[in-house]
Subunit: 352 residues, 2 copies
């Protein structure tokens, strides 16, 4: 491979000096370089397929146009990859490159990942987690513009802006959907206490009942974990051997995997979904919710939007866009109800 053309090559070919090349190609030609030279320079650059060496640029400018993305396990786990997708869209459209490092849930690697990135002079940092959670922010993130996506600064007084889904209103709207279908006895398999998302979604659940002026059947809320088997077990407890009159007519799940378990339990028990039982998921997990049988009604997490919002915020900071609302510390992105086939009207025989 022949070596890449440098600014010097372009200068020689155009018969000018390196500085002229630099000025022209950076748009500061007018008033400094003769029109005619400018044309020759541009042509020479095109002919040589010249583009400046980013490394030399970084060294010179102390800016790299690279944004470091650190994640707990977004790359290696099946979840939430679209946050990075959304962030990367924005970064690319603004001429930045993102580099992703995954620490695979090993908190001790957080600091070193950040230091590595900082060493390489990234212009900004973003931390992304799988599932909403508090984050012990690595010290290094405070030394450059930084933002959190799907996680919250765990310090006594938070320092970094975070972009998170609006879990409370997500839980509320999901419940609202079921109430609208006439359901009154709704059980909630609420995930595990390990993520703050669980209690927030429950809070929305309660709010919806209160908002409708209905009694809150809070005894219907169970912590169940996040996986298929726990959904299955939870549903069996609610349904197996229970008379139709005593059964909840709908089960809300804190994620789609729990919902898969519930559907499985219903099938096992000969209950038809949604005729005998409505089931709601949460997350709108790609190729789970939409391909399930029946396809799951669910509350979609705004992953791409979150990533995009976080990156936009970050780049505004990096480029010193002097965004006036640089002082708010939180962006909440609404979840989106996706109605499919697992929810339907309350069975006619159900008790009011």
């Amino acid at each position: 491979m022949q070596r890449k053309a440098t600014a010097l090559d372009v200068a020689k070919r155009a018969g000018v000096s390196r500085s002229a090349v630099s000025l022209v190609l950076n748009g500061r030609g007018d008033g400094n370089v003769a029109k005619e030279s400018q044309d020759r320079i541009r042509q020479a650059a095109a002919e040589l397929n010249y583009s400046p060496n980013p490394i030399a640029l970084s060294l010179r400018n102390q800016r790299t146009r690279v944004i470091g993305i650190v994640s707990d396990e977004v790359v290696t786990s099946p979840f939430d990859g679209n946050i990075i997708g959304g962030a990367d869209d924005v970064a690319r459209s603004r001429g930045f490159v993102t580099v992703v490092m995954d620490t695979e849930l090993d908190a001790s690697r957080d600091a070193s990942a950040v230091e590595t990135l900082l060493d390489r002079q990234v212009d900004g940092l973003m931390y992304v987690t799988v599932g909403l959670k508090p984050l012990d922010v690595p010290q290094g993130m405070l030394r450059v513009p930084s933002v959190l996506a799907n996680c919250i600064d765990n310090a006594p007084v938070p320092r970094l802006h975070h972009v998170i889904p609006d879990e409370v209103s997500g839980g509320r709207e999901a419940t609202h959907h079921l109430l609208g279908l006439g359901h009154r006895d709704i059980a909630f398999l609420a995930g595990a206490q390990t993520s703050p998302a669980a209690p927030l979604r429950v809070q929305g659940f309660r709010a919806a009942f209160e908002g409708a002026g209905l009694p809150v059947r809070a005894d219907r809320v169970f912590l169940a974990g996040w996986d298929i088997d726990t959904g299955f077990n939870g549903a069996m407890k609610l349904l197996d051997g229970v008379s139709p009159a005593e059964r909840p007519t709908a089960i809300m799940c804190a994620n789609d995997r729990l919902a898969v378990g519930v559907v499985l339990a219903a099938a096992r028990l000969g209950l038809s979904v949604p005729r005998d039982l409505s089931i709601m998921g949460y997350d709108d997990e790609f190729r789970i919710a939409n391909t399930m049988v029946p396809a799951l009604t669910t509350m979609a997490l705004p992953l791409r939007e979150m990533g995009a919002a976080a990156m936009t915020r970050l780049l505004d900071q990096v480029e010193g866009a002097g965004n006036s609302d640089g002082d708010t510390l939180e962006t909440m992105v609404p979840c989106r109800l996706v109605v499919r086939e697992s929810t339907g009207p309350v069975p006619s025989g159900a008790p009011n």
Copy 2:
């Protein structure tokens, strides 16, 4: 933040020249720099918490110790992230940093991702795909040491080494497991033609039958796609309204999601798994196969091993380790049978 210490700072503090610092810190001090100076230099470096600036290093050495990983959708999709995990493990352990770029299935972004990475002088490139597939290798990858993981150079005469799972033997061993349990009528929901993995797994299926001297019931092989709903529909076709004698006693699936659909169908039909029907998955998808009810017996893809093998190979090349088998173009990594609860002995009443 105070600026980071440079080699010059260290030199001043130790009362020597920059060159001395460079030599000592790179282990070439002996025979060049006085023992005593060496000590002072090392101490000064420690006191200032000095580490060389990677950017300057890159500019100077034309090597960055960065490996670029390009993927079609490993980051943003739920699948195969552990290939990157395994690759990154190896890279870090050898002092390299990986940067990941995901093109989200937009082939037109492949070339530009590679060019961006090349511009930034990565020392090597790795392309990773979700699911085994042929790859139109971006031109740029031929200009630096490169390797393919989970994909195969689609050129008439392949140029890049690839690391792939041994799908044929995976299919064979999976079938072997079922044959060992006494099953003779085994149906195979074989995924979609879009991935070469499907026909290879089928090939293994056939090989197992032949190896056992049994008639190949090749009419039992169906293309079904890769998702829950297609698994469900496929299973319904095989099972619904079919007399026990005519039913297959086991269904092998080309991935775990299909298997979920099959389990669902079985539940719907009142069939007990594995008592009435054995079900095999493929992939050992994290938090699907192991949390399914019943937990799925499956053929695990060696994702981490593949990533590790590919990166090892690549770094050997980058570091010019003169690895003598640099001429083989293929590494096959065996899949691993994981026996859980969805497979069991053939029902006693089943026809021979």
